[in-house]
Amino acid sequence: MHTRKHILVIGGGVAGMESAIHLCDMGYEVTLIEKQDQLGGHVLKWDFLFPDHRPAYEITNELCPAVEEKATIKLQTEVKNIVRQNGHFEVALSDGEKLTADALLVATGFDLFDAHKKEEYGYGIYDNVITAAELEERFQNKIPIRTAAGKKPARVGFVHCVGSRDEKVGNEYCSKVCCVTAVKQAMRVRESLPGCEVFCFYMDLRMFGRYFEDLYREAQEKWGVQFIRGRLSEAAEDIDQRIIVKLEDTLAGRPLRMAVDLLVLLTGFVPSEGTRRMATMLNLPLGNDRFIKPSDEHLRRNLTPVPGVFVTGASAGPRSISESISDARAAALEIAAWFNNSSQHAI
């Protein structure tokens, strides 16, 4: 290697950071740009992680300093324009800087589904309907779980699949991590509010990961979380600002109606604004779910059909943190392999 290859990693969440670290370790020159003023992405907003309840900051505490030490970090920076020239990418950044990269790694991730779009669930209309992200923020900031009126909730409901598996909002896919997140949060609510009844309203419980099933069992066994199989049809508000939920208990085969003091919506993943922009800018193919589609879903999960452009993390579909981290390492290897192949061809 006569000159060090330069890789631009776009997005400073766990996937971007992990890839950057490994690419640096392999001897590449890496610039990582992040539009926020801090590295970490969504993980910064999580209090603790499934399935083992470890604090989320442990992840960022390890990744952030490592990447800061090894790579060039540019915060509050976005890509303005990319031009492909003689096998290089001429990239214009939002701060006016122009840089040349030999490869691009798209790690722009996801956004959470905007719960306003499910009007029948009353988010933004009823004060006691919140999202799982908002609940997590309360956990993180040690704010006690209270209703809008400041009362201790006697009943909390979790609604699975909000904005996922729903053709009415145009998202037909499963967001994968909401089920286990609901279980994780339900347990925490029960833990912090003894005596509070917790209900999960689900269509299917997709406990796909290792230990997830244990979590499900523990939620029932130890914490008494109740699982009701039925997708929420609608929510209303009573005069005490309690949320009346309506659904069919499909296992009992009868309509079910109950009041909860707090309703938590497990909003799913949508491609982030950055992911959509990168896909448009680089002309990357998208799957039906509008996330970036890699060249091969089994063998080339980080490669895109555009030479020199790679993808990792949740820009290529809903993923958990641990999956994103593994995927980020795979992306680093994929990039290295691509450089090796192309340099051989060059000789």
Partner: protein
């Protein structure tokens, strides 16, 4: 009457070997979305009629697809066609069409 010490009662099992599922197949032909229900119950939960009487689109469709046609006959004449089930269905099942077809095929 002689007491034989046992009674004959209809089998409680859904027997897919013997059940006649012609209606379900006919339904699939006329309305292909009858295949894609995932039994989430959104329809039954929002149903305007279900608050008064036992009726659930999910149940109707499931039973027809299992060949248990007789058990849904009474549910079909309770639908008000208000369309809420169509509006909430996350799979885009054409619920009103299915109900209308079944009603025409089974009743009038």
């Amino acid at each position: 009457m002689i007491n034989w010490q046992f009674t004959l009662h209809p089998d409680h099992t859904i027997n897919l070997d013997t059940n006649d599922r012609t209606l379900a197949r006919l339904l699939e032909e006329k309305e292909p979305t009858s295949r894609i229900c995932m039994a989430c119950g959104s329809c039954g939960g929002t149903c305007t009629a279900a608050q008064f009487e036992p009726v659930s689109f999910r149940h109707i469709l499931l039973m027809v697809r299992r060949g248990e046609t007789e058990s849904v006959r009474s549910e079909l004449t309770k639908c008000m066609y208000c369309g809420k089930c169509t509006l909430v269905c996350p799979r885009g099942v054409n619920t009103r069409h299915i109900l209308a077809l079944l009603r025409t095929m089974l009743i009038n």
